[in-house]
Symmetry: C2
Subunit: 316 residues, 2 copies
């Protein structure tokens, strides 16, 4: 069985033709151009779907879409998304079905990502999985007892908005001290700007302006022993560890997967988190879980979207 996975973002999208083993047989990327309206976006995605099939001469069985925002997965509707201004209750699945003739299934992108790890990634074979994606924001996906946790109206698993520090920094959601406000790329940028404005002596500020400094820069300078970068890094590690510790006590998972761009920091991030999480888990939980870095890389979005279809097929 071959399926289409669509990784739909606010700026870019990617469409891939994927087989059961997670090979991507053909792949197209493009600009989403949200400002042209939802119908135009649906048409553009549909044309890319046709292209990846004609490129390979293979017909797909169905299409899976990972989309940001609040998704009605039963109706295939994007209720709304901060990334898609003006989209309200847009029947994306139906539109693309009309253009392509294929069945279309949509999930929130973080949920799709978790399915991707479960089907193709480091969480393969496990029924109790927590996924965190560390990027501009922090997304979450949970598989418990083999099923995706969606919640009563499908907006659960917002792990980036667990509170890990009451009275902590303001979060984009309006609350204070959410994991996202402390450990996302956005949070790191704020720490850096704050350090810069306080004239802190750091090797970071000798190469670039504060606004050009990325989380990757901060992690590299931290590795090289820059005190300020280390302090930023430690705040990220602490917040992540508190959240992961609580999640382990709540879900008793087998695997916690750290994905997203910041997972590229590798063992330099993983090892201190593994160590510090032990401060927050119950003694009985020790030995019951592993924390792993995602291996899906830049294909995580397409594979997650494709796995929406594979998971449905496997549960029939």
């Amino acid at each position: 069985m071959k399926v289409i996975g669509i990784d739909l973002g606010g700026t870019n999208y990617a469409v891939g033709l994927v087989d059961e083993t997670g090979n991507i047989l053909s792949r197209i990327e493009g600009k989403t151009k949200v400002d042209e309206g939802p119908q135009a976006v649906a048409k553009r995605l549909s044309e890319s779907v046709k292209s990846v099939m004609s490129n390979t001469g293979v017909s797909a069985r169905a299409i899976g879409i990972g989309s940001p925002g609040s998704i009605d997965h039963e109706k295939g509707v994007v209720r709304f998304s901060p990334n898609f201004p003006g989209w309200y209750n847009f029947p994306l699945a139906e539109e693309i079905r009309t253009h392509t003739g294929l069945d279309v299934f949509i999930e929130n992108d973080a949920n799709a990502y978790a399915l991707g790890e479960h089907t193709f990634g480091v969480a393969r074979g496990f029924d109790h999985v927590i996924c965190l994606t560390l990027g501009t924001g922090i997304g979450g996906g949970v598989i418990t007892h083999g099923f995706l946790l969606r919640g009563s109206v499908g907006i659960g698993a917002e792990l980036g908005h667990m509170n890990v520090l009451p009275n902590g920094p303001k979060c984009g959601c309006g609350s204070n001290g959410c994991l996202e406000s402390l450990a996302s790329a956005t949070a790191i940028r704020k720490y850096v700007e704050d350090g810069y404005s306080r004239h802190i002596d750091s090797s970071l500020f000798k190469e670039k302006n504060a606004s050009q400094i990325t989380p990757k820069d901060v992690f590299e300078h931290a590795k090289n022993g820059d005190y300020f970068s280390l302090s930023v890094f430690n705040r990220v590690v602490s917040a992540l560890s508190v959240a992961i510790g609580s999640l382990i006590n709540i879900f008793n998972p087998q695997v916690v997967v750290i994905g997203g761009g910041m997972a590229n920091a590798g063992d330099f991030l993983l090892e201190p988190v593994e160590e510090m999480v032990k401060d927050y888990v119950l003694p009985t939980m020790l030995g019951t879980y592993q924390i792993k870095l995602s291996q899906l890389g830049k294909n995580a979005g397409i594979l997650g979207a494709a796995s929406i279809v594979f998971e449905r097929a496997s549960k029939r």
Copy 2:
């Protein structure tokens, strides 16, 4: 169908004969006498089971037991429990089956409590339920998509050990800042002892010694405007609100139930928690959940245990 519910505690136990509507037809309480060993306890419980049946002339279909500690619900084994020193991998279900001839099902007591709320309580009819029991410790039970969340080795839903204040007070589990370390009856007793030792001026200390002051006293003095009692109360409300807010963002539940002895504080506790939780939930969650106080009262344990059997029967 009539079933037996056994509420097994470290000090006391209660056995009840329960019908499908949650009526308790007969009830016996007694001392657990853990020091006499697990076989003696199993025999005592079995005799009480026979008594409640002979009292009413009704035979039960099966027995449900809510037990503290780590339970292997598939094998009916109490792996271990801080409340039962010396019990390791004790096959409680099998022992009681031998004595009574009835099928026996065991769950962790907090999980059983959640099933009780789901079957007979304020969470009846809902598939997405969070339960917190506020007592000496804080127990948790979660029903998500209609199923009890047990986790990979059955020790999940430890909601009392979510971290709500990194570097907060030491918790019995060894960590710092768990919900239990901030909002349990034990936490309140520690706040009171600390206030007493610092010679704080409070109406609390004019009636009783610090060691005799209960959470109920603190709540009553808080209601009457005593500043120290209010400060203790506010710490409990804050910690509860942070935890409940995170749980709503994680599970997108329909109902959050607050039970246990401290739920007797009623609206005085519920209303500020309802208000403060809004500071920690995503705006999209508003309107999707209710927070309710348990109505099961002193029968919560028996009804929870009985509902283990009713839930199994309903899912066959």
